[in-house]
Symmetry: C2
Subunit: 475 residues, 2 copies
């Protein structure tokens, strides 16, 4: 479908001058000796931990990154393309809390497994990501092992590696090598990805760089994401935030290319605002939508796949009207802007602190609706259904027309959650609002879950690795 | 802002061939002798009550309608332009029920007055329309008098005349003449509008034509709206519905021009689908959004102002997540499609059976958000805030930066309803979801209401007219 673009050529040029100046004059801080060494060896100006990057050098480096690439699944039918016209959907990532059927509590490993299973059951998700919730009941130092094992055994889709630490990254890569036939095979056919968040403004910390370097060395893609809440991590101005986002992301992409030329990358964006009354982050407002339109336009100009901040973001505490309009007002702009990777597609609540089972169903309805909405419309003579008019004439109805009877099963989108029941019938069926109805829907989906098959020797090898590493990590 | 258009030139040509053929070969039925006489005198083929219209003749007639016009208010500051780049917002129209603070009941004249006052208080609304709810506690035959008096005295914005019957139309026009200085002055400066719904497919009934003829004679604008639920009033196909919508609306516009050349008109659209499972109308799905994108493109090609079906339409029974995502998925496409008149902007619930006070607040938040979202972004050197980066540097924050402090009050959209409160604070403040919070918001707005001044002699004249006519109508 057509992209929605709002920046004039003049505006695009102003933004390009902006990020060039930021890179060249203020530069980016990298808290990592190896990153600094690589930039220095490539002829960039390094002073303490700040790298001032030549903008043309940056453009040369990012030209080495592929404009599209495939992420390979252990079940080849689940592999997918990143970039171009494709959109990849990932469920909510990262929350320490869950909300289930009206109750809010700490997230556990059981929640992690249930959300991961839902990501496997619903074809709408291309991957479960790597961190659908933070499993707070497992030891901090070794929980990445349990999560990687769950991703590899409960799903057969591509997935996200741990980026919590160098240990997490290396363990994730070691397990992937077992599944995908060793380091070389993995590098030739990338199968797991990592998300690298910039410590905006203009800083990459050591922990994130550890992960970026490890995954880039292994040839696995990184989604490099400036995390910008305007007014806090960036100036309180959309153009300024776009400039900063571009400068920060391009600096990370450049580093990935210095580590391993041709490393697949995704230009990340996560651009929203700070509510200046509460001091809290705000989502789903006009600013983030405009940011999405512009981010897509800039990424296409740079020739890189790009990630929208999130599918259905919201500050709302519950899966209510606010959650839905804020969610749709981040998801619909992501479609209009042609985002290639949509993180936090479904389930995100409370500014990212909560993974909500009911919100996941609400958001799936939104994604499905928009996938239909942005499918090109076919207009030909047959679609005008002239014969139906000849049959029905003036003032009749089409419910029984031949044209309708031939296609009533699939002529319109069939909702997952939405109700068109009349009031009396709705009351008879319990009078439940959409959040209340959503509970039964995800519960039924979980019952449909079937674990994808895995060779038992491979499964044993993975489990042994997890047991051994857990012991080595003291848990 | 840029319009979002999805039809290729080929598709546009196919659709034009379609509506030409419908008009010329199947024709439109008009249940009104005067309409048939006018078409016959203009050289069109009339057989029984069906008029077959020459498509080129239709295009000549519609070329007489203005591409933009002004609707004049008794308070000149409230006058507005219809057409071009302007968008006019009208609250929900027509429901027989209301939902207030969780309770659903019959709508009364008190509700009518309260919704009308809310339409006056909120600058977001350009007009209260004519029928914010159906006042079921007033006698059927004379309630139009009470409603017109309320619109003229409780608001000073342009408004909608009654279209329920010829009597309703003539009484509305008589009252408008008192306020606006007589029939000639009213015709020179249109001040009230009417909505004419087609009895789709391909039929105008006598009651609607009575109103159309009366208002067109008086030079007042008509919004001529095919009411199409695909699968029931039109074939189950978006292109077929677009063709039918265009043919039906253009036939009505042509009649208005035959009655009085140059009569201002608005090309109406109200295009959604029938849920083939429940048989009930469905709103906010992908089909209606695609219909909006296309309807705007077709209306611009024809050079006429156009109306989107509705702002925030939904089938939901309560102001929940479904109500919000369906509502936004009709409102945002209306913005993308550049709708000139948005009926049912706020308050619509339950497929149009309910006017909901809380939903009105939810929808106002949506409209305000989108108005910001579709305001062109200014990108210049100053907007890049380079100085703020020089001040903050690497890894700092912008909360205390001079750039932020200078603009924190109005740099971002300030929500009416949405909460960014953290969980603990939200719980302390009652833990209310957005629908629950909305109650206090509309109640406070109603307390801010002030009746606009009116000359006491004029007010007495209007009241006398109403009393006399009510008696004549036997109520």
């Amino acid at each position: 479908m057509a992209r929605y673009e709002v920046l004039s050529e003049d505006a695009m040029a102003t933004i390009e001058r902006g990020w060039r100046r930021l890179l060249e004059e203020i530069g980016i801080a990298f808290h990592h000796p190896e990153a600094l060494r690589l930039f220095r060896e490539a002829g960039q100006t390094v002073e303490d931990d700040v790298v001032r990057l030549d903008a043309d050098f940056v453009l040369e480096q990012i030209a080495q990154a592929p404009s599209t690439f495939t992420l390979h699944a252990r079940n080849p039918e689940r592999s997918f393309e990143v970039g171009g016209d494709s959109m990849v959907f990932v469920p909510v990532q990262g929350p320490p809390f869950v909300r289930e059927n009206g109750l809010r509590r700490d997230a556990t490993f059981d929640d992690y497994c249930r959300f991961t299973k839902l990501a496997q059951v619903y074809d709408d998700f291309d991957t479960a990501g790597g961190l659908v919730v933070e499993p707070n009941d497992l030891p901090l130092d070794s929980r990445h092992l349990d999560m990687q094992l769950a991703l590899l055994t409960l799903t057969d889709k591509p997935y996200g590696g741990s980026q919590v630490s160098l240990t997490g990254a290396l363990d994730s890569l070691a397990m992937a090598e077992m599944v995908f036939g060793g380091a070389d095979a993995l590098a030739r056919a990338p199968s797991l990805y990592t998300v690298v968040n910039v410590n905006s403004p203009l800083l990459y910390d050591g922990r994130m760089l550890d992960a970026l370097i490890a995954y880039a060395r292994a040839g696995q893609p990184a989604i490099i994401t400036p995390f910008l809440l305007m007014g806090a991590m960036s100036p309180a101005s959309i153009p300024a935030a776009l400039v900063q986002q571009t400068a920060e992301a391009l600096a990370g992409v450049t580093l990935a290319q210095l580590i391993r030329p041709g490393t697949p990358v995704v230009l990340g964006s996560f651009l929203s605002h700070t509510d200046m009354q509460s001091g809290s982050p705000g989502f789903g407002g006009p600013e983030s939508a405009i940011g999405l339109f512009c981010s897509g336009q800039i990424a296409r100009r740079l020739g890189l796949p790009w990630r929208s901040g999130g599918g259905a973001l919201t500050s709302s505490q519950v899966p209510d009207a606010q959650a839905a309009y804020e969610g749709l007002n981040t998801m619909l702009p992501a479609f209009l802007a042609g985002a290639n990777v949509v993180l936090h597609t479904a389930g995100w609540l409370e500014s990212g602190l909560v993974s909500c089972y009911e919100k996941l169903v609400i958001d799936l309805e939104i994604v499905r609706t928009l996938r239909e909405e942005f499918t090109p419309l076919e207009v030909d003579e047959a679609s005008l259904a002239y014969g139906a008019h000849q049959e029905v004439g003036h003032g009749g109805h089409f419910l029984g027309a031949e044209h309708t009877l031939e296609r009533f099963r699939d002529c319109f989108y069939r909702p997952l959650l939405s109700s068109t029941e009349n009031y009396q019938r709705w009351i008879r069926n319990g009078g439940n609002d959409s959040a209340e109805r959503a509970t039964a829907i995800w519960q039924a989906a979980l019952e449909r879950y079937e674990q994808p098959p895995m060779d038992s020797a491979l499964q044993a090898e993975l489990e042994e690795f997890v047991t051994r590493r857990r012991a080595e990590l003291g848990d």
